[in-house]
Subunit: 161 residues, 4 copies
């Protein structure tokens, strides 16, 4: 058992660019690399659930995320997730007891020179260490109760409900 479990599901945070196709696709997770750069010494286990844009996540994916949390020995769970349906997935997780879960994503890919990915990962790692059990979303410098936040697409930011 690690101290913290990170579940990865895809989303903008892990987008890579394929020149041959001139398009973006979800690639390998960047969380391990970001933790290296961030000199993280915590015992962290990373488990991939899927690699999808969050608009493509379906009920089976969300069941798999929930199952991974419920069966994990770890009680501190971080989830990387596309931003568009992050709150939908949070709703599926809301009655999980005894676990501190923090979801985050990125509005700009982690492979960009400038991305919010590292800031959000830092918030999520701290949240699962110091917050009481519950489901949280860490975006735009704020740790939200996952039931009280929405993505404002026009502003391209998470705002309180």
């Amino acid at each position: 058992m690690a101290d913290i479990l990170i579940l990865t599901t895809g989303g903008t945070i892990d987008k890579v660019y394929f020149d041959a196709l001139s398009e973006f696709q979800v690639g390998d997770t960047m969380v391990t690399r970001l933790m290296e750069i961030g000199l993280v010494k915590q015992d962290v286990r990373v488990q991939e659930i899927c690699r999808k844009d969050s608009l493509e996540l379906d009920d089976a994916d969300r069941a798999a995320i929930r199952h991974a949390i419920e069966t994990a020995e770890e009680s501190r769970i971080v989830i990387t997730h596309g931003t568009d349906t992050m709150t939908n997935t949070a709703a599926v997780l809301k009655d999980i007891a005894g676990k501190t879960v923090c979801m985050f994503g990125a509005l700009s890919p982690a492979r960009f020179a400038e991305s919010d990915a590292t800031m959000n990962l830092g918030m999520a790692l701290a949240t699962v260490q110091v917050a009481p059990p519950g489901i949280y979303i860490a975006m735009n410098g704020t740790v939200f109760d996952a039931a009280k936040v929405r993505k404002d697409r026009a502003a391209n930011a998470f705002v309180p409900l």
Copy 2:
């Protein structure tokens, strides 16, 4: 009154390189820039206390930090600080009541392509939002009780006391 107050004191995190002198000095704080990149929408106030290597901080500097916290309207306080004497400063702050204070620094300057500064800032911003009042140190992926951590200089990492 802002939601969060960030006090800056110097340290490795803000080191810049002056080619003319072939040496490093403490420069302008990078926290504002890191928050921009991190798409932070919180209402944050940044106040400079000093620009020193933490080995050069004296009693007057620590009194100034304490005074800034006690007189601040904000109850959520983040402090950037050199790593060598971070715990000494924390000891001076330990009996401040009703404020959640999180200190952090960086083992590599924030102006480097690879630095732990953003990860640590993210942890600190989250900690002051979700942790109960107290003095914390966020380094190496961990949120420590500031009274129960030390810098292991040989390992170049913060470890539990």
Copy 3:
């Protein structure tokens, strides 16, 4: 008249990511920013011809590029261009006399933390300063005669014809 004229046409080098659409589009040119970071003190003029993936460039675009070169007062011309049809455009320019023209693009967007854009721009700026008149392509660490190179899509690299 500047010392060097840079014509921008789009391509991967200038791709930005729009989270709202989860897609990449050609954005503002990055060459000015890259020259700032590179501490370029040359007198450089930047002129936008278009913002297109190179597969979308048509005869009118290529005529516009040629016209811009022929009517420019500058004799040192750098062109940013998508990689897929760079050699097609070079073919249209091949009999221009008295000008040193160097084309380059990027296989990874300049906004990525790791991109070949700056290396290629550096090669192009040097080439137009020291090479005799002609049409060149600077990619993958090599300055090619533009008539003797092709993009190997499988290898995602420019190789000699």
Copy 4:
């Protein structure tokens, strides 16, 4: 025999930061890493001569650089060098025949998020491919004849003599 030989001598370009000492020192060369990021496919050989601030280079070091060039099978030679005495070393090399030599350094360490190192390396690689034999310096976006340039310390830039 490689196509291009890169000799490394130290200088700001390779400075690393040692937190334990709160100081900068010359570290491993960054040129190999910069060529990886720049997707360089040239056959390049990298040889370390020394790791010094250029103010500390002495006659023996300069003789070693000259010897390495004269005995190299390669005729295209790139040299990384501290900026303060780059022209002094160039003077020692000036009568070497039949080799195209381009020196460069960086005013900001290559390990910084923003550095002129990659731009200058790109210029140097191109110069040794397309310029006639001679000694060149590639800095600040310009390829200089090494005998006709000086570092203006006040401006922190290379300017024509």
